[in-house]
Symmetry: D2
Subunit: 350 residues, 4 copies
Amino acid sequence: MNFASDNAAGVAPEILAAIARANDGSALAYGNDAATRRVEQRLAELFEHEVAAFLVPTGTAANALALAQLTPPWGAVLCHAESHIATDECGAPEFFGGGIKLIGLPGEACKLAPETIAGALAGRSWGGPHHVSPAVLSLSQATEAGTIYRPDDVGALAEIARGRELAVHMDGARLANALSRLGVSPAQATWRAGVDVLSFGASKGGALAAEAIVFFDPARAAGMQERRKRGGHLVSKHRFLAVQIEAYLADGLWLRLAGHANDMADRLGNGLAAIGHAPVWPVEANEVFVALPPRTCERLKAQGASFYPWATASLPTGIALGDRTLLRLVTSFATAAREIERFVELVEAA
Amino acid sequence: MNFASDNAAGVAPEILAAIARANDGSALAYGNDAATRRVEQRLAELFEHEVAAFLVPTGTAANALALAQLTPPWGAVLCHAESHIATDECGAPEFFGGGIKLIGLPGEACKLAPETIAGALAGRSWGGPHHVSPAVLSLSQATEAGTIYRPDDVGALAEIARGRELAVHMDGARLANALSRLGVSPAQATWRAGVDVLSFGASKGGALAAEAIVFFDPARAAGMQERRKRGGHLVSKHRFLAVQIEAYLADGLWLRLAGHANDMADRLGNGLAAIGHAPVWPVEANEVFVALPPRTCERLKAQGASFYPWATASLPTGIALGDRTLLRLVTSFATAAREIERFVELVEAA
Amino acid sequence: MNFASDNAAGVAPEILAAIARANDGSALAYGNDAATRRVEQRLAELFEHEVAAFLVPTGTAANALALAQLTPPWGAVLCHAESHIATDECGAPEFFGGGIKLIGLPGEACKLAPETIAGALAGRSWGGPHHVSPAVLSLSQATEAGTIYRPDDVGALAEIARGRELAVHMDGARLANALSRLGVSPAQATWRAGVDVLSFGASKGGALAAEAIVFFDPARAAGMQERRKRGGHLVSKHRFLAVQIEAYLADGLWLRLAGHANDMADRLGNGLAAIGHAPVWPVEANEVFVALPPRTCERLKAQGASFYPWATASLPTGIALGDRTLLRLVTSFATAAREIERFVELVEAA
Amino acid sequence: MNFASDNAAGVAPEILAAIARANDGSALAYGNDAATRRVEQRLAELFEHEVAAFLVPTGTAANALALAQLTPPWGAVLCHAESHIATDECGAPEFFGGGIKLIGLPGEACKLAPETIAGALAGRSWGGPHHVSPAVLSLSQATEAGTIYRPDDVGALAEIARGRELAVHMDGARLANALSRLGVSPAQATWRAGVDVLSFGASKGGALAAEAIVFFDPARAAGMQERRKRGGHLVSKHRFLAVQIEAYLADGLWLRLAGHANDMADRLGNGLAAIGHAPVWPVEANEVFVALPPRTCERLKAQGASFYPWATASLPTGIALGDRTLLRLVTSFATAAREIERFVELVEAA
């Protein structure tokens, strides 16, 4: 019963097989290989758009390099106060950006609302030169609450951003989960809705260690090769990154894996709701947040369930935790239905 | 006939098998797993010394994070002018170090001599506060010329460094090749000779993407967890880094792989010498540098050999290239004897 | 009627005279002069404590260098959300700190309350290594609302900070105004209350361009000489910085100048209150914040008054601006009583 | 007999008087004042070209901000190995530039030769993305050896730089001395010869603390306001910087002051040559470098002369110091002829 993180899962067998297959013979290092060219082409097809793509081994690298590229050092990134870039990357965006500022904004279920962005842009002094200048709007898809922006949501936010010449970045560490749920195309969820640069995650979805930074305007990527290299993120045996993404995208694997994780989350959410423990936020991706009595949490742990408690200021109005502990339960491509059933049974018994 | 780089080789089968084996079940992310604990223990045994070890996916990350840890932003790193950190990492040490300065020094065969270090420390103003302060001596083992420091060489350099309170860093991207040649223990080649922090390479030696930053004084590693994370170098499915190093070290695999690469380099160097093209530097690790007429180079390429031309200011006194082009030929664990033979034949025929 | 900023005032005559006097003969540059030694000694006497002091030409330099010294790059500075370091220095602390994070906290009248600090330290994940680590508590004295921390206030906040090993920094750009009001000694207001490092302002108080970074524990200042130099903040003809501070402190000039500014602020606040426009925050230093109808503001400007509108989220509970515009009115050592009277008359007439 | 530095001189009386005059009444802070507008206009007239100018209090700030503006973090600055930016600013350019690299090149009398620049650009790998990219050529005028580039020299160097799309920066801390000697216009010595950005020094020439960063293409200065502010280099009472530059330029004061310093240097150089101690480099600005026996140096110090010994690798071919110590003797606007005479007499007597 591992619900601690989708990072706790291993590697999807198809991706592991692709790594093994790629180990045949030599290939020029640092991305000068055929697999890298193939995956760049594949990403362009997938997104139905010209792209410049840069593979890196971690999601933090993808986010930090993308943000550093999109803002001058005196720029600000508007994001949700509980977003991964703001709270879980130990200041990587600030470091790579030369001291940029992340402006954490509130929003129920970790989603930003248009009026919040508009208010933040209107409500304080910017630039001039005493103040930092707003440069990027960054959205997490899916959010840290396991919720999802619809293309229209993204479009409304991006429109406000563009009106002030902000670039729009999407942290798509769990983009597959969002797309699987929404049933829209990668293009619809990203550049057609106004996204300029995407951190396209694969590690949480089933890869070993591979993410892609995708620029929908290649001109905007000038210098990214150097930026990645001096960040220490240009992997020498680069073909092994490329084939991970390639296998992840082949035959819709990524959406099948994400779909399974989402199904497991649904089942978990529904199971808990049925016994009186409805999730605090809608279950839209592969995360379920539920408030349980501390004693129940202790028992679950004792019986082998792994998960983390969660602190948030983004609960829906009217929901109070009281004495309960909020838990984050993450499902993955590897989650088995019996883990779900066992967990729900244990909660019920507790 | 791939002699472009040891990075062009794939993954040693034993290491690939270890990755596959590690894919069984879930494991806590970010290094909180059993394999990570095992490899930390293994490194301590290997070096016969307490260590703090940090795994990262690239050699540039290992070097840049190590150097940033060892020097304040106003510090200087003394190194060979043609060292990897000085010329091939696109300024990564300067970036991670907050604007440190690398002082490139000359030395035949890319090796630093004690009098060079002593002269550099004596010959200019340091500190005070107008000048940067010397903080680190960094040595490459093996060097970029494929040559090797003996433990006594390292000891003599380290003694000078310590006399001025410089830390000693070793870029051991090819440490295995050096050790295999020298027949000394890892301890003798590192901390016993005065090395404080080692970038322990595995990628060039046969791993997919795994390096370890090894601190022989764990107290000196305070903050390294945060430094690595905010550099984007904490890989989420960390067990897959750990098992690469573990398999690399198991049963002496790393030294066998390096020994094979060295043997191939010997064979190549001897073969070329026998036909009148003696390498310009002693062949001590897995690199052979030979000067050939440009037309020969063209032919070799046309016949499928891959390699890079090499620019250097570190040739032995008395050796002039004239019209010839200096080539770098790198062997690896995967180099086959027939590639060597074919290459030598082609040179002879040209 | 200049109420735009205390920076709009010129230089106190005594300080200008000291500059002229210092222009006699030559003196070693970069702080190796007698005046610099005298002012270092003077600061130690003033604060009744051993100090290490570093003179710089701007308050932003003082704050940014001090904060960078007190926190590792992965550290966080807890401060009021509307503090100068957080909103008016264009990211200087983040730049000098190598990408540190400023955590802006709420507080009525721009003052931080102990429970706010305690809550911030308890209410989110810190360190570990995913999260930044709290490293500094920074207080503005006087605050951006013109309010003042009593020594006991500082003491209570500092105690919480020390309990978590945070350093305590005070942005004392208007320390003189606070001290003049409180009638306590410099020691009582700073190190005795728990302040570790002080940005000691003189420019706003009457100097041309001079601030001092004062470390009450000189050991904590290791490397500050280099940090200042590489920040471009070591002024070559340093004696002219030193004599500014020296003259500022001589014979209590600094407190007299601040006392006058405070008196003018009192008079302005009282005058406005008497005609129905009570300041929104207590007038404790040299700033008065008053909400006036937009039309009144226009008229005041037309009649030669200069001031800035002010945006804040720190109004006392129960105070709403409605249609009114909040103005910041700053007095200085150079403010004349007739400017106050004229301004109040104009408001009354409007 | 102060020959330690032109920074050891005080402030020219005309400049001090201008500061006192500017202290009349209030003025908006941070450069929003009339004096700042006037000096910007004055600089444009002086250089016969549209400019964007940014005043800062130190030369290190001017250089570091200019270089950071002209190169991406992965850029390299080509400069003389003994230039001020490379050796005397404690890494300020590297810090402000986010980890840029300064490539120190050799050159007799601290002057760079066209073939040196051409060779540096041709002789190593650049960009690609493993290597840093050459971005700026920086020239010191006058040089650290007190020598001067003619407009044709600058033109030849700039032409090579532009052929590789490098920007040309001039560190003009002693530009006045060069212009006074050359008798060419500011335009001829700068933008007409290919200079893009100039650090225009005034402090060494007689100001209290004022330098200007002058962009001859204002479009290239985008973001400089923010860069200066977050560097802590936007002086609040900015009018006092502006009037220093204004007075420095009024009625040719700057060239008169520099001319006097140069005359004193000539007299010193000639006097020493006449007694058998010819300067090692041509005396072209306000610095004289002479090699004297250590015992003579001791005596001079004992008799009240101040100066610094100098280490260099830029002596003319054929000149050896032997047992002698190389001294740097700097004259200034304040140097008196009797100081020169006394110094020469003492050398002769020794």
